[in-house]
Symmetry: C2
Subunit: 499 residues, 2 copies
Amino acid sequence: MITGKNQIGFNQSAQGSKTYHTINPKTNATNPTTFHEATQSEIDTACAKAKDAFTSYSKTTGTERAKFLRTIASEIEALGESLIQMYTTESALPEGRANGERGRTLGQLRMFADLVENDDWRNPTKTGENNGLRKALIPIGPIAVFGASNFPLAFSTAGGDTASALASGCPVIVKSHPMHSGTGEMIATAITKAAQSCDIPDGVFSNLNSSGIEVGEQLVKHPAIKAVGFTGSHKGGRALFNLAAKRDSPIPVFAEMGSINPVIITTKAIKKRGAELAETYAGSITMGAGQFCTNPGLILTVVSDETTAFVQDLADKTAALDAQCMLGPNIVKTYVKNTQEMQSQEGLKIVATTQNASGDNMAQAQIATVSGKHFLKNSTLQQEVFGPFSLVVQSQDTDELLKIIHTLEGQLTATLIAEDEELNELQEITTGLQEKVGRIIFNGVPTGVAVEDAMTHGGPYPASTDSRFTAVGNHSILRWVRPFSFQDFPEALLPEYLK
Amino acid sequence: MITGKNQIGFNQSAQGSKTYHTINPKTNATNPTTFHEATQSEIDTACAKAKDAFTSYSKTTGTERAKFLRTIASEIEALGESLIQMYTTESALPEGRANGERGRTLGQLRMFADLVENDDWRNPTKTGENNGLRKALIPIGPIAVFGASNFPLAFSTAGGDTASALASGCPVIVKSHPMHSGTGEMIATAITKAAQSCDIPDGVFSNLNSSGIEVGEQLVKHPAIKAVGFTGSHKGGRALFNLAAKRDSPIPVFAEMGSINPVIITTKAIKKRGAELAETYAGSITMGAGQFCTNPGLILTVVSDETTAFVQDLADKTAALDAQCMLGPNIVKTYVKNTQEMQSQEGLKIVATTQNASGDNMAQAQIATVSGKHFLKNSTLQQEVFGPFSLVVQSQDTDELLKIIHTLEGQLTATLIAEDEELNELQEITTGLQEKVGRIIFNGVPTGVAVEDAMTHGGPYPASTDSRFTAVGNHSILRWVRPFSFQDFPEALLPEYLK
């Protein structure tokens, strides 16, 4: 069923001699399919097709695109258990997670179908006398989408970036993630089937295999590509951003690059419900082996006897949890390297490490502590450690805590754990956090990103490359559209939604 | 009244030894005020003040900001004739234009006051159970604004960029344009008076003098600056875009960089109303000495006897017009250099040149022609010549015309001059143009940008650095804001507009 070929519009293609395999992280066994990395000529063909297809696809009705998106969802559902099996084989993520993520992916596709079924999302605006000025949002052109290692479905081939771009009328070329190219191919086949059965033009969707960075680089540099969607590391996102900015004709890159998601826990909250918080946070830190961009990597406290006891409790509860399999050997290697780098920082102490477990690619969760003073003078302590790691900063007082908040880099989220009666004293902290993040949570955990209109998944750099957009929810379509005005235009030449 | 000092928040400052003067383009006489270019320390102070002020200014109510904007308008009005005199002395633009531009500037300030008086512009969104998720647009941080040489008021110190940024809750630091720093200082003083009388925090507005590129570069590189608004040349806009992209923490740059604004005139339209069109376009090409970013620099026709006669008529009517004074010696020098470069291109013929006139900085308007074949193989012919210059391309047929449209770079506008009965045949041309521009006009002229909600002033690169935004109209506020979500937040800590 899986061919290892690139999907170039309606054609499958395997011209290249550079091949690779995905592996099963649980066993490090090589999965059977040989994937053919896309050649320059295949990249060019996909881009030329996308450019040609854009002219007609950008003019399709909302009803046509809604049908296409719903058919993609049905075709993905029709893949049934074989998709779940491929997903778990390539990611080592549990079946429950695979099912949940598939549900989220289908939900997103149908959400965007509902959105574009009528043209309100275009914000049609009419001003001026007679025909005067008529404005609406129109698609920007072909989009290159880079899937995430940690979300083989919801943030990959048919994930939020692809769904929102296709909904807006933009063709999509996916650079398949080398760690789950089999899952990617299955989804690409479903999208292609849907396109064919819905009379969507050849070239509106392509899926290119790639084992390294070259295919992605060529895509971002290609003149036909008009914007980029990326979910992944800061290093990867920034590299693509730099490439896009250096083009003769620069293009926008929306890269969601994760963050350390600071959690402020007040001493009062610790006194009142320390044990419960320790349990909740041991769970949030280690959930999915910590492989979430909203993983709480930084816990900010003020020193007290209760805080010390809480940290011990959090450490004990984390250490008692089972080690988990990560997404692959490179992810584990980087995690170990990053935790070792942390350990060598002045003043940092590891207070919890889960037991190692037999099996490949297992990650030991770690809790570390550091004083506010050390944290303030060492920006390395702000670097994200992708995995089940969290650093507890013990400030000497609220002033130092505030200083720390003011030195934080941009973040996807911040969380405030406090008692209601403290709210008045917390205004300055809330304001300080607001300037740094895209979403602030009260008495909860940052993990879990609801697909809702009121969600912001993004934030000031380096959480994302452009804080003016969200990667999740209906408003994420705004990344791929631009305003366009008709002036004194005859009714007959106006699109339906401006008549 | 004019001091030549920098306005740094509420203080005037002239620490630097680097000074300059503006000149009167009509006479090349040096105007009396000695302007002190901002020093690095003054830039740093302005940025530090803006950063501090942001925390409280971002939390002001819409009513407070509306009052501030309206007071700025009143203070500018109170400057009376002295402002008009300064404007005409520094720009050589006629008094009627000065009055018109002042009216536009006041109108924009009041339009944004009306917009933010209630919080609908924030698009407040609530989803989820209980307090769930609540999202709204919030200001992004201090904005650096670069004024335009050709709009000393409406696109400069208190122009659209400043008005929209202040309306959103962002502090503004203006890099004063060296050609009209006196006009800039008068406006800066009006804004400062308004800030003081409206209890707006010190640092929400600063105005920095600059004779070259250094002050602007330092501003764009400063960590406190969170976005940039620019109106001017491609060279200048791209340089700032590159600087912003190279920052440790990149920031968005909205640069509106002009374009050649292609005008397609059909042979039928020429047959029907050639004489009228020649007169209209001779006027549009030379209006304001062609110093508009929407100046029609490219006229696309299909060869015929009627077209040849029309071009001759357009040439005669243009040649008969008076030469006009441009904005300054550097502008004229560049104009002459660019027209000379055009003249040396293969196949290009100059068919009209207005008589030279006595006086300094006078520009002779020029009409040139070239064949479609020559245009297609020479991208230099697509370069903007800022001034009263227009190139008429004579295609051999509609296919060649379409090919030309497909090779065009991004543009602010395109104009279609045609008869109603041709509309059906023009679908392909309209579609082709739509992919290249931000606004398309039917049977009109591109010059004249109405300040209306349905206006798009922007377009695909190189017309602007980000086609997803407009520089004119209420929606231009979207350049300076980002979505922000509160999750499970207690009512007491939510801003009023999310309660």
